[in-house]
Symmetry: C2
Subunit: 492 residues, 2 copies
C-alpha cells in the first residue's frame, strides 16, 4: 500500500487528513475550500442519507426542493440570520460570459449581464423557504408544514478541512411551520432525538443532548438544541442542531394564519440539519492507525473475502466455496466483496480492506477448505478466529451486531474516561489543556464569562445538557452562583 | 376544488401550467427562473431517482460528488463546451456582504471581497470532473472510471417553464473515462439504453433512440445519442442524452494514461444525463383534463381508499374493512392512502385524487360491505367496477401491471397515429403545421438545410433513429440524395 501511516498519538490532525485521503473518502478540489467526495466516501454518505431519510419520513416529513439562490432583499429580511451569514456568502452578480477581445480562447464576465439584484448562494434556506411558506399558509388547516430538503449549501470559509469545514457541503435542512409554540418546541425536540438516535444507533457515536448558550445559538433562533460527540483527541464535534425559531421568520416574512377562532397569528417555526460533517465525526471517533473503522450499520461493504492461493487450481477450489459463502451472507442482507484480484498478494489486500474499514474479513485457503473452516478477522478489535464453514454466515451476521455495539461501548468508555467534573479554575484548565477532554463545570450563565473563558483557554460551552442535574455551585471563573454544570471543551 | 380546469384541446400550454400548479407539483419561486419543487412533485422525482440510481449501479457505476463551482480558467479549457454554455452562466464574483452604510438593516456586496478568479456555477460538470480525473488516471489499471453525480445545475434561461426549462434544475450526470474508443462508444450506447428502458418501463413513454445531427450535438461532444418522446400536442421532448466525448476533454485537460504497452494515450470519455425535465414529459404524455395520470411504477400513492358514510357508526364500520384492505395491499408492495377526512365529501376527494393522478381509487360504503364488494375505479380509463372484497388486493395488484402497460400502449398508439412518412415539402409542412406530429423525412445531411428548415417551419431534426432503414430518397428541401429518413418535429 502506498499508505504513509501517521499515528493518531503523534499527530491527530495529520492522521485524519491522511486517512481521508488514503481511504479514498474525499480530496481537495481546484475550487478553494470545496471538496470532491470520492465514490467510497460518498457510498458511506448515501448510507447515512438513507437511514436519516427513513427516520424523517417515519416522523411525518416529506422532501421538497427550494432554489439554490436567495435574492439579497429576502436574505436580509431576518436581520440576525442575515448578520450571522453575511460574512461568508458567495454572491452571484452576473449571468453571462463573453469572449475576451484581448485573449483569443479566453472568456471574461460580460459587464452587460450584471444582475439588477445580487443572488446569494444559499448558506441555509430559511429566507427563501419562509418567503415561499408565506403563500402556502393562510389558515390553521394549512399547518403544520413538515418539510425537509437534501441540498448543497455554501459558506465561504478561509480555513477548511475535508468534511469538517468546507466552503460547499452537503446536508439536509428540515423546515417546519406550526400553529403553536408548544408544537414547534416538541418538533425541535423530536428532531434532536432523531439525530441522537441516528448518531448512537447507526454511527455508534454516543452524544450529549443539550441546548446551546446564547453565544453559540444559530443566527435567527430563539433556542438551538444540539448533539455533541467526543473525538479521539478529546475535542468536541457538534454533530447536529435543531433550532426553535420562534416567530422570528414569520415576522420577518409576514407569515400569519387564521386560527380556529379566526384570529390572525404569526406562525411558529423550527429548522434542523446535519451535514457531511458527520463523515468527519464517523472517521474521527472509530478509526485507528491502520485506517478507517466503520460501524456495520453504515459500511458500504460488510464483509470482504480474500482467497489465499498459489495455483489457479487452488484459486478455483477456493472460489467455489467463497461464492457460496458470499451468497449465504447476501441472503442475510449483508454486502460482500470477493477480492479475487490476481495482481495483489493477500497481505496487501488485508491492509487495503483494513484501511477501508470493512468490518469483517474472511480469508480462505486450500488448508481451510480441508479443515472445513475459514479465518474470520474483526476490523475493530483485530482479533482472528477459525470458524467452521457450517454455520459461517449466521455467525458473521451475528458479529455485525456485536461489532456495532462494541464500537458504541468503546466510544462511550472513552468519553466517560475523558470527562471530568471540575470545581476550580485550576482543575478546569488542567482538563482543557493537559488531559484534553470534556469539563463539566459550573458557569454563571453570562456571555461575558463564556467569552473570557474562550479567550483564555479556547474552550467553549458545547451545551447545557438536558439531563444536567440541579445542584448549587459556583462559576469556575467568576465564582458567581450556578445551578447546573455545563459541558466545556475545545471543539472542531 | 379550487381547480380552474383548462382543456388540453383548448390551450395545451395553459393546461400544462395549470396542472403543474394545481396538482401541487411545482411553482415559480422568488428567484427568476428557479422553481420550488413541492412535496408531491418531489415524491415522484424521488421515485425516478431511485429507479435510475438502481439501474446505474447495476451497470457498474458509483456515485460521487464534485464542486458546485467551476473556476473560469477550467471552464474555458474545452473551447466548444465553454462556448456552448458561456451565454447562460451564473457567475460568482464576491464572497462577502457587509452592512450598507446608507441604509441601516440592509446589506451590500463588500467590494473588498472580490474573487481573484470568478467562479461559474456549474451548468454541467465536465470541466471540473476532467480536471479531477487528471490526478486519478495514470495507467490503464486506473480505467475505466464509471461515476455518476446527482446534483443541481444552473443554466441562465430567459424564458422558463416549470420542469421543462428552468434556470436551476436537478439532474444526474454520468462521467466515465475509458482506455479505448470502442469501450467509450459501448458505454455511450449502454447508458442511452438504460434511459430508454427507464422511459418505457417506468414512465410508460415510448421513445425513439437515435443520434443528434451536428447542429444539435452537446457542446464538446463528438456524438450525442438521445431519446425523444412525443407529447400529447404532437411536439417532441428530448428526454435524455448520452454523449460520446471522444478525447476532447482528455486533450483539453491533458489526461493521458499508460497503456499495456507503456505507450501514453489520451483517455476516452462519455457523459450522460437526465433531469427534472422528465417530470414535464411524464405529465404531458399521460395526463388529461381531470389532472395528472401517473404510471404505477412512479406513483407515490398507488391506491386511495375513500370511505362513503353518513354517520360515525358507518364510518367506523367502513374503516375497519378499509384498513384491512390497506394492510393487504401494503403486503403486496403498494402504497395506500386512506382518506378519512371528515371535512370533505367523497365527490371532492374523488376529484382531488384524480387531479393527483393516483392510479386506482377504492370507494367503500355500508352497502358495499353488505354486498361484500368495493367500487374500484381506474384513473387512466375512468372505468369503474364492483369487485368482491375476497381477493380484492390481488385484483388491484394485477391492475397495476395492466395500467402500466395500457398507458404505454396508449402513448405508443398516439405517437404512431401522429407520425407520418413524408416525401414532399408540401407534405412536410402539412405534418409540421397542421397535423402536428413527427415527420419522417429524407434530409441531405447538411447543417445548412437543417437550419433553413428550422427557420421556415420551427421544426428541428430530433434525431437520426438508430433503426432507420436504408433507402434511397431525396431531401425534402434540397432534393439532394439521402439514404435514410430522420425525425423532424417541433420540440420543447
Amino acid at each position: 500500500m502506498a499508505f504513509e501511516k501517521v499515528k493518531r498519538s503523534e499527530n491527530y490532525s495529520e492522521w485524519y487528513n491522511n486517512l481521508v485521503k488514503n481511504a479514498d473518502l474525499a480530496e481537495h478540489s481546484a475550487v478553494k475550500g470545496c471538496m470532491v467526495i470520492k465514490p467510497y466516501g460518498y457510498a458511506i454518505w448515501e448510507k447515512m442519507q438513507q437511514a436519516l431519510d427513513k427516520m424523517f419520513k417515519e416522523t411525518g416529513h416529506s422532501n421538497a426542493y427550494f432554489p439554490l439562490f436567495v435574492p439579497k432583499n429576502l436574505f436580509e429580511k431576518e436581520e440576525k440570520n442575515a448578520e450571522g451569514f453575511a460574512k461568508e456568502c458567495a454572491v452571484v452578480t452576473h449571468y453571462r460570459l463573453k469572449n475576451d477581445p484581448d485573449n483569443p480562447g479566453k472568456l471574461i464576465v460580460d459587464p452587460n449581464s450584471k444582475l439588477e439584484e445580487e443572488l446569494i448562494v444559499r448558506p441555509t434556506s430559511e429566507a427563501i423557504i419562509w418567503n415561499t411558506y408565506k403563500n402556502w399558509i393562510q389558515s390553521y388547516r394549512d399547518l403544520p408544514i413538515l418539510l425537509n430538503q437534501w441540498a448543497n449549501v455554501v459558506r465561504w470559509e478561509m480555513r477548511t478541512r475535508l468534511f469538517l469545514r468546507t466552503a460547499e457541503f452537503l446536508w439536509q435542512e428540515g423546515h417546519t411551520a406550526h400553529a403553536t409554540k408548544e408544537e414547534a418546541l416538541a418538533e425541535t425536540k423530536q428532531m434532536l432525538d432523531v439525530y441522537a438516535k441516528f448518531a448512537e444507533g447507526f454511527m455508534a457515536v454516543p452524544v450529549i443532548r443539550g441546548v446551546k448558550s446564547e453565544n453559540e445559538r444559530f443566527a435567527g433562533a430563539d433556542d438551538t438544541y444540539c448533539i455533541e460527540g467526543m473525538m479521539q483527541d478529546g475535542k468536541a464535534l457538534q454533530m447536529g442542531t435543531s433550532h426553535f425559531l420562534g416567530q422570528n421568520f414569520a415576522k420577518a416574512f409576514d407569515v400569519k394564519f387564521q386560527d380556529k377562532n379566526s384570529k390572525l397569528e404569526y406562525v411558529w417555526a423550527t429548522s434542523w440539519g446535519v451535514s457531511t460533517r458527520l463523515m468527519g465525526a464517523l472517521i474521527m471517533v472509530h478509526s485507528d492507525d491502520e485506517g478507517l473503522v466503520l460501524p456495520p450499520a453504515l459500511a458500504p461493504i460488510h464483509v470482504v473475502i480474500v482467497p489465499v492461493f498459489r495455483t489457479d487450481e487452488e484459486l478455483n477450489q477456493v472460489t467455489e466455496t467463497a461464492l457460496a459463502i458470499k451468497k449465504d451472507l447476501e441472503k442475510l442482507g449483508l454486502t460482500v466483496k470477493y477480492d479475487n484480484r490476481d495482481t495483489q498478494k493477500p497481505g496487501f489486500k488485508f491492509a487495503e480492506w483494513e484501511l477501508k474499514g470493512v468490518p469483517v474479513r474472511i480469508a480462505l485457503g486450500p488448508r481451510d477448505l480441508q479443515n472445513g473452516v475459514a479465518e474470520v478477522a474483526r476490523r475493530d478489535t483485530k482479533t482472528k478466529e477459525s470458524v467452521p464453514l457450517n454455520g459461517l454466515a449466521a455467525h458473521i451476521h451475528g458479529m455485525m451486531e456485536t461489532i456495532q455495539s462494541a464500537l458504541y461501548e468503546k466510544a462511550l468508555a472513552y468519553r466517560t474516561a475523558k470527562t471530568w467534573e471540575v470545581n476550580t479554575w485550576e482543575e478546569f484548565v488542567d482538563v482543557i489543556e493537559n488531559r484534553e477532554g470534556f469539563a463539566l463545570a459550573h458557569w454563571d450563565g453570562t456571555g461575558e464569562t463564556e467569552e473570557k473563558i474562550k479567550e483564555m483557554t479556547k474552550a467553549t460551552i458545547r451545551c447545557i445538557p438536558f439531563d444536567a442535574k440541579e445542584e448549587t455551585g459556583a462559576c469556575i471563573l467568576s465564582g458567581k452562583p450556578s445551578s447546573k454544570r455545563v459541558v466545556f471543551a475545545k471543539a472542531y
